[in-house]
């Protein structure tokens, strides 16, 4: 019951945030003087054709009206133009790319698999790597292993993903010829090839964050190992494995989850960069394509979609708190 009320409160907060974020994003994009009608009007662009294009795309309405149309489109779908030239954009409609002649949601759907595979695999890898390296480091404080992990971690924090990615391609791809250096195979098509093609991108994206999480876990673990209840657990004869694994780790995970929630946005940004390095056709490639061609509806749609995605993911992380630490005020 309490969890339910907590979830309901968080849900309301999340919807409010989504509304504010979408209004702000939309207003910014609207206020800047890029005119999609002008761009798609063609040559010669007579005032009449320009006005027609504006009316067709819905850019002749005031900005709040356009925003409401956009918002309505997400839930109910919308159509552009009228008569025989009508273009239908089904719900959830995140806008329509007139350049590619396709709804933004369709374009996102065909690109999200790559980005999701990349981000999810990397996140799993970095959480497992970071938390275990940090734990081992804390338990064997001052050992050679600890010093190596900590030195590697500050280097990892400082190295940009694309640099590590390119060096990885150079070393493991070209020089050692061990792994593929680009391309993507869908999971449904061939799971083994899917993972094989993603191994290098996963490692690249995970390596940098794993470093940060190793430092975080180590610091937290050292603090918690000094607590009374750990001494009690040891005093009543529990094995070290159980003390660390059950008693200490659970409390270490709370701040790790907090930071993970904050890093989700960064993960998506990192995925955009990693896609570029490994020439993968994900959301990042879609976004850069929109940027390169000044495809405004696509740009707004992808940006808002990414924002929605992150707010939703943060909501999930919030719920995870309640599971990890029952004391957190629900």
């Amino acid at each position: 019951m309490r969890l339910l009320r907590f979830a309901a409160g968080r849900l309301a907060g999340m919807i409010l945030v989504l509304l504010i974020v979408s209004i702000l994003t939309y207003a910014v994009f609207y206020l800047l003087p890029a005119d999609p009608a002008q761009l798609s009007c063609g040559k010669p662009c007579t005032p009449q054709r320009l006005a027609d294009a504006r009316a067709f795309m819905g850019y002749d309405a005031p900005w709040w009206r356009q925003y409401l149309d956009f918002l309505g489109g997400i839930f109910a779908g919308r159509s552009f133009g009228s008569g025989s030239a009508v273009v239908r954009c089904a719900a959830p409609c995140f806008g329509y790319s007139f350049r590619l002649d396709a709804p933004v949601s369709t374009l996102i759907a065909s690109h999200i698999g790559v980005t999701f595979s990349l981000a999810a695999g990397a996140a799993v890898l970095w959480l497992v790597l970071g938390v275990s390296a940090g734990t081992v480091s804390a338990v064997r404080r001052g050992s050679l292993l600890d010093r190596t992990v900590m030195t590697a971690s500050i280097a990892g924090v400082s190295a940009p993903a694309y640099l590590v990615g390119l060096l990885g391609i150079l070393l493991f791809g070209f020089t050692l010829d061990m792994v593929p250096v680009g391309g993507y195979v869908p999971l449904a098509e061939n799971p083994v090839q899917w993972a094989w093609h993603l191994i290098l991108p996963w490692c690249v994206l995970a390596f940098l964050s794993a470093a940060l999480y190793a430092r975080l876990t180590r610091g937290q673990m050292l603090e918690i190992l000094g607590e009374d209840y750990i001494r009690t657990a040891r005093a009543k004869g529990l094995g070290e494995r159980r003390v660390i694994g059950r008693h200490a780790l659970r409390n270490v995970l709370v701040p790790v989850v907090t930071v993970f929630g904050m890093d989700l946005g960064g993960l998506l940004g990192g995925a955009v960069i990693t896609e570029r390095v490994f020439s993968m056709q994900g959301l990042g490639a879609l976004l850069m394509d929109a940027v390169g061609n000044v495809d405004l509806p696509l740009l707004v749609g992808v940006t808002l979609f990414a924002a929605f995605l992150i707010v939703l993911a943060n909501f999930a992380v919030d719920l995870l708190y309640g599971v990890l630490d029952p004391r957190i005020s629900l």
């Binding site: 800047l32 390119l166 391609i169 929630g261 946005g265 955009v272 570029r276 976004l287 850069m288 929109a290």
Partner: protein
């Protein structure tokens, strides 16, 4: 011992702690070296006899790859030349330091200004204002800011100078971290006797914030500004890498690394030089920032390393 007398002693202890931290000192030395290189970039490339803009097509073979060892390293071109154009890579790298540090420091200054402003007022006034800014900070923290930066950079009016735009966009999203820390510190300072006394003597909020609280935030601001700089440099490099940052022909490390994707197999040195410069810079700032934090915040001392 009075409080006034113990302060300089505390400061001296901090200095000793920083000076005793080998890594922080190394970081500081590299940072100083970088600042010198950035300031003297035209001089350095003049010593070499090159500039970052002139094409040297004679240094390339027919497919655009630099002739000779290691991407065309020679007495004339110390780091070799850029593939396809033959521009001098040493000149590009030292001038790139200028771009990175100017953009990084300017964006940091903007973020620190915003963060201190929001954090101090939120911590001092509290109430609904504090709750709203707190929520905004939460949202911004988990936000895909890079994606927004890319999109904003793409649609901004062309009349706006691009480097200023990059500084504005990066700086605009960098303030939440420092705002949160400053808010916490302000909250603690607000309850201290000297602030309470000042308020009860009739001092206005502006006076208290600027004259009583701000001076006590100095150390925190310096530490967090130092820790922010590598992130800002990284963000500029990421935008330039994606082709939406500082426009050509202004040298930028991120853009060179982005260009190097196509040449990584035929001319790896084109990746190595700008890449190493970027890595060294962020590493040095990180080491210095970590050292400063450990020295000024006794709570984390010994835990981080």
């Amino acid at each position: 011992m009075t409080a006034a007398a113990s302060l300089p002693a505390g400061r001296r202890a901090r200095w000793r702690r920083i000076a005793g931290d080998r890594w922080a000192v190394t970081g500081a030395a590299v940072v100083v070296g970088l600042l010198v290189i950035a300031a003297a970039a035209p001089l350095l490339s003049a010593v070499e006899g090159q500039d970052p803009y002139t094409y040297h097509l004679d240094a390339l073979d027919d497919s655009g790859v630099p002739r000779g060892f290691g991407g065309g390293i020679s007495a004339r071109h110390w780091f070799g030349v850029e593939p396809l154009t033959g521009r001098d890579l040493f000149a590009i790298v030292v001038h790139g330091a200028r771009t990175s540090i100017l953009v990084g420091v300017a964006a940091t200054a903007l973020s620190v200004l915003l963060g201190v402003l929001v954090g101090m007022t939120a911590g001092f006034f509290g109430g609904w204002y504090d709750r709203i800014t707190g929520r905004a900070i939460d949202v911004l923290f988990g936000f895909p800011t890079l994606i927004l930066m890319i999109a904003l950079g793409a649609i901004a009016p062309a009349a706006l100078p691009k480097p200023a735009l990059v500084v504005g966009v990066i700086g605009l999203f960098g303030w939440p971290g420092i705002a949160r820390v400053v808010r916490g510190q302000t909250l603690a300072l607000r309850g201290r006797t000297f602030v309470v006394a000042s308020v009860s003597l009739g001092a206005g909020p502006l006076h208290v914030l600027v004259r009583q609280i701000l001076p006590n935030l100095g150390a925190t601001i310096i530490v967090y500004a130092t820790m922010l700089i590598p992130g800002m440099i990284g963000a500029e490099a990421a935008l330039s890498f994606l082709g939406v940052g500082v426009p050509p022909p202004t040298p930028a490390w991120g853009r060179s690394i982005g260009d190097a994707i196509a040449w990584v197999q035929t001319d790896p040195m084109f990746l190595v030089f700008p890449g190493a410069a970027l890595f060294l810079t962020t590493l040095a700032f990180n080491l210095l920032g970590d050292g400063l934090r450990d020295a000024l915040d006794p709570r984390t001392a010994g835990v981080a390393r």
